[in-house]
């Protein structure tokens, strides 16, 4: 690792109480393939971290182990000091970790508004018999106002009743983001949010994310291939290369580091 570049980030990482997410030696193998090897870094509350790296470098896999889709092969993931290993996916989500997927995963049997309502951090999200009998008397419309706020923030308000499958690709991505924001997560993981978005739409997304981060102290980790987007949004960059942590530091410094350019940016042209 380049000492010069990583200096500010590790200084940031020392601030104990402020740490939201703490990855300690996280590895994940798929058979003989080391998708992640010994990844260690910390994310402070309120930080906006970019996660970059070439195709297949393990970025999405890192999101998958954080959200509990895959178990780690080695290492620990701490969220607000709590070890996430062994927790079910919905438990991890309800701790305050929301995410989007590389290709949007919306509920096509539900309308745009209903999709967002799924994100609402409703009481009784564990449908035991008792909870079910209680919730039976509460129509879901009761939870619609929070969902409406989030979808209109993503400028989807006029599509409330549409089937998300009929939306253009960019708006489907935005709907996924708003479904996350509805639950007011403390950590939001975005997997290539600008893929398929126009420049205008990505700028609107940057404004929305900046605004939410400012208002709610939202912490963000963003995977993206668009350097302009990363530069505009992220304070700090983590670079992965073949499953290993190549660099971790302030955005401008990392983007200027020669070995990062060689490993990642170089091939983007």
């Amino acid at each position: 690792m380049n000492g010069l570049v990583s200096e500010p980030a590790s200084a940031v990482g020392q601030a104990g109480a402020d740490v939201l997410l703490d990855l300690v030696g996280v590895s994940r193998r798929f058979g003989g393939l080391h998708a992640l090897s010994d990844i260690t870094f910390r994310v402070r509350k309120g930080e906006v971290v970019g996660l970059v790296g070439s195709n297949g470098s393990g970025k999405s896999t890192l999101f998958n182990v954080i959200t509990g889709i895959y178990a780690v092969s080695a290492g620990r993931i701490l969220f607000q000091g709590q070890d996430l290993s062994g927790l079910s996916r919905h438990t991890i989500a309800r701790l305050g970790i929301a995410r989007t997927f590389q290709s949007p995963r919306l509920f096509t049997g539900l309308s745009v508004l209903e999709n967002a309502v799924i994100g609402v951090d409703a009481p009784y999200k564990t449908p035991t018999l008792l909870n079910l009998l209680r919730q039976l008397w509460i129509p879901w419309h009761r939870y619609a106002s929070a969902a409406r706020g989030a979808i209109s923030a993503c400028r989807l308000g006029m599509h409330e009743d549409r089937n998300p499958a009929t939306l253009p690709y960019g708006e489907r991505r935005l709907l996924e983001v708003s479904r996350c924001l509805v639950s007011s997560p403390s950590l939001l993981l975005l997997d290539e949010p600008t893929a398929g978005l126009s420049d205008e739409e990505s700028n609107a997304l940057i404004r929305l994310l900046h605004g939410t981060a400012r208002d709610t102290g939202l912490t963000l980790i963003v995977i993206d291939h668009r350097v302009s987007f990363i530069r505009a949004l992220c304070d700090r960059l983590v670079v992965l290369n073949h499953g290993e942590l190549l660099e971790d530091g302030l955005t401008a410094a990392v983007l200027a580091a020669p070995h990062v350019i060689a490993a990642y940016l170089g091939e983007e042209g």
């Binding site: 989500a93 539900l110 951090d121 009784y124 079910l132």
Partner: protein, 317 residues
């Protein structure tokens, strides 16, 4: 005569629709159970045990109104306790099958239902292979009272179905209705939105098997004679067919059940009338083959429609 005939079939259809509505709910949470008839059987046999306990000598006097009212109360108690027992068994079995998904779960439930039938056949306390005869509890199925008898069970079936249907509608209007659809569309995405999909599936399975159990107890007292063969796959198949044809819609599956049940009965009548007694009986015996072919056709229909639609779309574009 015709009214009685109609009510008789209404009572049977009521039981079938109870099973259809509940199985439909199970399938909607991505649990493709093929053993719903097994839970139907558990309910019936739980009803047998309840009946043997509360009417030890197998005779219930129906002389006074008090007798009849308490008999009706006993019947409701029987249905209720069968529901509780079956729901409990359903909960335990789905917990046992926790790791089994999709077709593995389907096969496991199928095998489970087969075991239920076999255990019943070998358990003399519940009548064994010869079956169990239940006493008439509220109305007698004899003479002038026959009409009341079939009417009583038909209305009980309608009432239970109405309750269930309204309950499911309520469910669909609550957030849980959204969770059911969401987890059906994309289980993983629903989980990452904080929905506890596994608990949802367990709870729905518990409720649905409880309903199947209630239907079993109703069946026991309506037919007043049950044999293990009543709870075989052959008798469970129509329910699966109704759910498939209903395409998982709560109202559509009811319509499919009623429509197909009626069509089948009319067909049987037609055969009896047109083909004479022998051939009519033969047609009734081919019921299984008939059902299987409708099931296969139902499976092929979407693919066929797709085939038919595609060239037209190409032509128009």
């Amino acid at each position: 005569m015709t009214v009685e005939f109609f009510l008789y079939h209404a009572a049977f259809a009521g039981i079938a629709v109870l099973l259809t509505q509940s199985l439909n709910l199970v399938w909607r949470v991505n649990r493709f159970s093929l053993g719903h008839h097994g839970y139907f059987g558990i309910g019936a046999y739980a009803g047998v045990v309840f009946t043997r306990f509360s009417v030890p000598d197998g005779k219930w006097a129906l002389d006074t109104w008090i007798d009849r009212l308490s008999g009706a109360g006993l019947l409701l108690g029987c249905i209720g306790s069968a529901a509780v027992v079956t729901g409990f068994v359903g909960y335990v079995t789905i917990r046992l099958f926790v790791r089994l998904r999709e077709d593995h779960f389907a096969v496991a439930t199928l095998v489970f239902a087969e075991i239920v039938q076999n255990v019943a056949a070998n358990c003399t306390y519940v009548g064994g292979a010869l079956g169990f005869e239940a006493p008439y509890l509220a109305v007698r199925n004899a003479g002038a009272e026959r009409l009341w008898y079939v009417g009583f069970y038909a209305s009980l079936g309608v009432a239970l179905n109405l309750l269930l249907y309204l309950g499911i509608r309520r469910l669909d209007q609550s957030t849980y209705g959204l969770y059911i659809t969401a987890s059906r569309d994309d289980e993983l995405a629903a989980e990452l939105c904080g929905v506890d999909v596994w608990t949802l599936q367990r709870t729905v399975f518990l409720l649905a098997t409880a309903v199947a159990g209630a239907a079993g107890a109703l069946f026991l007292h309506f037919t007043s004679l049950i044999v293990p063969g009543d709870f075989s796959l052959i008798n469970g198949l129509p329910i699966i067919l109704y759910v498939v044809l209903g395409n998982l819609g709560p109202a559509r599956c009811v319509a499919a059940a009623l429509g197909l049940y009626t069509a089948y009965e009319i067909m049987k009548l037609q055969f009896f009338g047109l083909l004479g007694l022998e051939l009519g009986r033969a047609a009734a015996e081919w019921k299984e083959v008939l059902l299987a072919s409708v099931l296969i056709a139902a499976g092929l229909l979407p693919a066929l429609l797709q085939k038919l639609r595609c060239p037209r779309r190409e032509a128009s574009s």
